[in-house]
Amino acid sequence: MDYLHKVFAIVWKDIIAEFRTKEMFSAMFVFAVLVIVVFNFAFELRVSGDEVRRIAPGVLWVAFAFSGVLGLNRAFVLEKDRGCLDGLLLAPVDHTVIYFGKMLSTVLFMLVVEVIVLPVFTAFFGVNLFDLRLLLVVVLGTLGFAGVGTILSAMTAQTRAREVLLPILLLPVAAPVLIAAVKATAGVIDGLALGEIAHWLQLLVAFDILFPAVALMAFDYVVKE
């Protein structure tokens, strides 16, 4: 319980910082919507009517992934720039607490963005995305994306290239998340039963467990001086 308490302390710190600055959320949200708008321009010429349903899952997850990269980048770059990372590391907690705290706050920001983007998407494209099963897919996909993204972001924040490097390291590794999330989302949009997309959900769950476990073991090496 104590461990969770410490994790939530970090999440709470991030939430308060976000309420004061409103930097991350607004950037992530506006960027996600812009990605959708750009896709609209890109596809409008060749896709129409019912076909929109076929491209919707891909467009949606590209928007989530790209805005997620923005959020992940800020998660550690902010701490690094203002010297807060050293403060966090000096705190008398296990370093994995920092990993989980940062991961959960990123998940939280991404989820808030995603939950708002879904109705926007529905309005823009006329594809009904109000579905609890879709929410499950979104949560699982976001967890996986942020789970592996957080440890990579902790590394790239300490490199010379910084923001540029994260998507290059993250996207190949997170490819299974994107494939599974897009497939599961397509299943939901096509009205399949939960059982028919279960194998994709299982893959997401496996990913969601595997990478935090790896990060748990490796995070110490990433943050120590």
Partner: protein
Amino acid sequence: MLWDGKMKRQSDTLLFVLTALSAILMLVALYLALAGAPEANLKSETGRYAQRIIYFHVATAWVGFLAFLVTFVGGVGYLRTQAPKWDIVALSSAEIGTVFMLGVLVSGSIWARPSWGVWWVWDERLTISLIQFFVYVGYLMLRGSVEDPARRARFAAVYGIVAFVSVPINFIAIRMWRTQHPLMFGSEGGGLSPNMMFTFFFSLIAFTVWYVTIMWHRIRLERLRDDVERLKQRIVG
């Protein structure tokens, strides 16, 4: 500690022998692949020629993935011991793996054009090889972006491990997504005849020896670089 003179001479002799051996093996493999192996039972003439690329293509892919395993092992070794030699192994293997993975993509494309009529399809093994290639590129870019050697080694090790863990799950995801690649050892037709098998496995061995040889050269290079650095310090300091 500088390399002891006698040990160094011995290891250099051994490396020379190994280099010569892998040169011979590669030449024999080349002969077998181009002329030694029997014609494939295919209708089109270009298809029959193109089929011969598989001896090198599959061996290249094997080395590409083997190199990735070595990078992973080197990373784990480094994190456990903090000994720079593990990092050198990981780096050398990643560099070689990048080149081989590019070789896989190029040779695969050359084969795919006459056989499938396209340069590229998003088939499972092609996709995983492409992603693997990008992981290698990311690995090398990450290294290039960190100055402090100890931190560079640590970051590289962690990324090497994360990326390696992602291989099987990537493979599962992509396999569930689609597959079109010919199976080498399928129970039905399209497999290799015993004579082809010989060339196939000969290439695998030749490429593996070649990989070990380049690894050795690369590690030796890094060691010599260290020596030069130390000598410089001694003269200047």
